[in-house]
Symmetry: C2
Subunit: 227 residues, 2 copies
DNA sequence: GGGTAAAATGACCAGACGGTCATTTTATTG
DNA sequence: CAATAAAATGACCGTCTGGTCATTTTACCC
């Protein structure tokens, strides 16, 4: 079926398999601005000019490197999540898969963090970075929505919930990357999954502190959480 | 008591009151690397050389600007949290105060995000940025610990819980900054506070899905996440 | 008002870096 | 093996920017 992988295509693929990891290493270590094309070329063991045969600019190379990493991460996350049945397992596997991937690729994680920050800075539409980031929470959101539909958990905004899980995961990983002690991910992941899971639980039987969970002292402002 | 505010000190204070906001504006808009001292000087309406009379380098000016913003933010957060009695109100006011502050100072928020990202990139000890960031969760952590002691909530790791709240807040604000629609903070803040609060609740009576809340279906693969 | 010290200025410099392209090296073909 | 095309190279260029410092302006004091 695949007629001819045209030598050119093979060469390009080979080059990318060398360039992109080198780029991720350097961009991850230095960030976009401080990274130099000379350095990337050296890491990839080619001359600088060679890179410009395959990427038209530093930005283009950055985008390609970021894209490749995110795609791989998303793919792995998706595979793992798909084999989970219960929402809780989906959440745990989401956190665990990402923790594992980023532990394997710390440089990419740094690059990723930089890209997210840059996205916030520009504060604007435009880049497809935005859509890639949004895509990451899609599956999570679907899983939450399904659980709501099946009445496994209380009625919650599935998008907001997915984003919350996402944020918790990112914070956890960031802290791990800055060498903040704790060698055991599963423990921390478990804590987060537990927190979220309990937070999503339906008000158990009846008399629980469900809809009015304030400690005491609460005079009426009922429809705060209106939506 | 304060004997003489020495003209020099007054001048310095005045300069800083002009320089730091200008720096925050430019660093926030462009990030550290892209920001130029020329631009900051122009925004502050002084010559570039003048800045170097008060700060020995670009980095020093950046640090000073970041520090001043974080201190102000922390101070405001602390004041608000201190007047809250219940943990739930502390959490809500933490989120709300920060949301409010960052809404008033979007440039500083961008700068802040950049600084956090840079911290993760360097992945290392050293900067006092680290300690400033850590300081932010201290109060929250104390409030959680107090609630645990008073048995208002279940026994949780107060540090981890504080960090979780912190991460959720940061994610929420980041999303707001990228103009992601939703004009109403309190609604989203309420959702998060609710989620966390329920997550912290003591297991009500007894039969709740406490320590082993897996949905169903679980044939043994307990030690999957062994690492 | 004039003289001196402090403060401010902005032209200037040096180094760095993204990107180019004439030249060299390698692969292909007859 | 020669001829030719494709790929790789790295010296080079223009630009940009953090930081400096000789000069000018302002503030102060007698």
């Amino acid at each position: 079926m695949r007629p001819l992988p045209s030598k050119e295509a093979v060469l390009t693929a080979y080059r990318q398999s060398v360039f992109l990891p080198a780029a991720i290493r350097v961009f991850g270590e230095c960030g976009f601005e401080r990274a130099t094309m000379d350095r990337i070329a050296r890491e990839a063991e080619v001359a600088k000019g060679t890179i410009y045969l395959y990427y038209k600019s530093k930005q283009a190379m950055y985008d390609a490197a970021l894209r490749s990493g995110i795609l791989e991460l998303d793919e792995r996350t998706r595979l793992r999540m798909d084999e989970m049945a219960s929402l809780r397992d989906v959440i745990v596997s989401f956190i665990a898969t990402r923790a594992e991937y980023f532990a394997e690729h710390p440089d990419f994680f740094r690059m990723y963090v930089g890209a997210v920050a840059a996205q916030i800075m520009k504060a604007g539409r435009g880049t497809d970075v935005q859509s890639m980031l949004e895509h990451q929470t899609r599956r999570l959101e679907q899983a939450v929505a399904r659980a709501v539909a099946r009445r496994v958990i209380r009625r919650v905004d599935s998008a907001a919930t997915a984003l919350a899980i996402f944020d918790l995961t990112r914070g956890l990983l960031a802290r791990r990357l800055t060498a903040h002690g704790h060698p055991d991910v599963t423990e921390e992941a478990g804590f987060l999954a537990d927190l979220i899971w309990r937070g999503l639980n339906r008000p158990a039987t009846a008399g629980d502190a469900g809809p009015r969970p304030r400690g005491r002292k609460g005079p009426a402002h009922r429809n705060k959480g209106k939506k």
